[in-house]
């Protein structure tokens, strides 16, 4: 996957290819809202892990994540537990809808993550 990324970005010095690259990237961005891509999953993973973004590891254990917190349940078997994408998205965007006293930050409502970023995180979570 990383190899593919490199091939995609390397030739950008050529102007014509740059234009093509930008077009491809916006298609990619559009696609992210509808279909899952490898790049989207990778982006979702880093959004979930980064301390200044999701920082989900502060509270949840996640595959590959070091020193996880234990405040929330481990993020595993997400498709099984959240067959409905909208429900998973809502849990991340505003956990207080389901549980008013939730200790999980309302990521969209408080502007910590955008809805698009949450979509990418959901793509990633469905691989767990």
């Amino acid at each position: 996957m990383h190899g593919k990324n490199l091939k995609f970005f390397m030739p950008l010095c050529d102007f014509r290819r740059l234009a093509a690259g930008i077009a491809a990237m916006s298609v990619l961005a559009l696609a992210a809202a509808h279909a899952t891509t490898d790049d989207g999953i990778a982006a979702g993973k880093s959004l979930a892990m980064e301390r200044s973004k999701g920082n989900c590891l502060a509270c949840h254990s996640i595959e590959d994540g070091e020193l996880p917190g234990t405040i929330g349940p481990p993020l595993v078997a997400m498709k099984l537990r959240f067959p409905e994408r909208a429900a998973l998205k809502q849990q991340i965007c505003d956990a207080t809808v389901r549980n008013v006293d939730s200790r999980m930050p309302p990521f969209c409502r408080h502007g910590i993550l955008t809805e698009d970023e949450v979509e990418l995180i959901v793509d990633y979570l469905y691989t767990l």
Partner: protein, 279 residues
């Protein structure tokens, strides 16, 4: 993956808050103590003065090693020197307090009916400087913190006896404000103090294990090995408020003094054991 302990916690906290809202401080305190004792049935009440070390064996072992050469000793000595120092008019800081050195720390925080507000030890020391026409110390200054370290050390073993007198309605109001602050969600991350130090007590935020709030005030000021310096209780409050990305409050602001008043009341009956040492 919901475990029953977590469910129990989620259901207990609203109960605690509701009950606290209608009952007086003493009922609040009993419910607070009962909650932590039921969470940690093997921990003796007096142990809660030791913060995280009361509930974490590994951290406790490291702490006992650290205490062999107490890293706050320097602050205690510096504080004692400042305390004994003769001021320009020949007076000493001690002259303001009319109590034996070991009794000064336990007399704060207290509600001053004349001023209509909570007075903490740090404020009382600066008041004393003002009556002696000396400039006040900033609340994060080494001087002020080391004097509180000295007075904490002198009070070791004395019980916490925070008072709320029934004939001073302002005292109850200040306590209620502190309590409201403690249980209110705040900041971009939407946390109340109680979310971490009551509901999630003993759990990990990444690598940090959350200490019980019962006993939070007994051991300050505290030497932080991460910072290599001794910090005040209000600096710790300030750090936790910043961590939830909330609006900051000044050290010794009315909000923090009321919060200290509430938390000190919750710790009544424990022993003073400052200064402490933490990572």
């Amino acid at each position: 993956m919901k475990n029953s302990a977590a469910m129990l916690l989620l259901s207990l906290v609203p109960m605690l808050t509701q009950q606290a809202a209608v009952a007086g401080p003493e009922d609040d305190r009993e419910a607070f103590v009962e909650y932590f004792q039921s969470r940690f049935p093997d921990v003796a009440f007096a142990e809660f003065a030791n913060g995280i070390y009361a509930i974490d064996e590994d951290a406790r072992g490291q702490w006992l090693d650290i205490e062999e050469f107490p890293p706050y000793e320097f602050a205690v000595e510096q504080g004692e020197t400042l305390w004994q120092e003769a001021l320009p008019d020949g007076a000493r800081l001690a002259d303001c307090f009319g109590q034996s050195t070991g009794d000064i720390r336990p007399a704060y925080p207290r509600f001053d009916a004349g001023r209509g507000e909570v007075v903490t030890l740090a404020v009382a020391i600066n008041d004393c400087r003002q009556t002696q026409k000396l400039p006040v110390w900033p609340y994060d200054s080494e001087e002020l913190i080391s004097i509180t370290a000295y007075l904490a050390y002198a009070a070791r073993g004395k019980p916490v006896v925070t008072q709320i007198h029934a004939d001073e309605p302002g005292a109850l109001a200040a306590y209620e404000e502190g309590k409201r602050f403690y249980y209110s969600k705040r900041g971009q991350l939407n946390f109340a103090c109680s979310d971490c130090h009551v509901t999630s007590v003993g759990l990990h935020v990444r690598a940090d294990r959350l200490s019980p709030s019962l006993g939070h005030t007994t051991h300050f000021p505290v030497y932080r090995s991460k910072l290599g310096t001794v910090i005040s209780l209000h600096q710790r409050f300030s750090g936790c408020v910043r961590d939830v990305r909330a609006k900051p409050f000044a050290l010794q602001s009315e909000e923090f003094r009321n919060l200290e008043y509430f938390l000190s009341y919750m710790s009544n009956g424990l022993e003073f054991n400052g200064p402490g040492a933490r990572k």
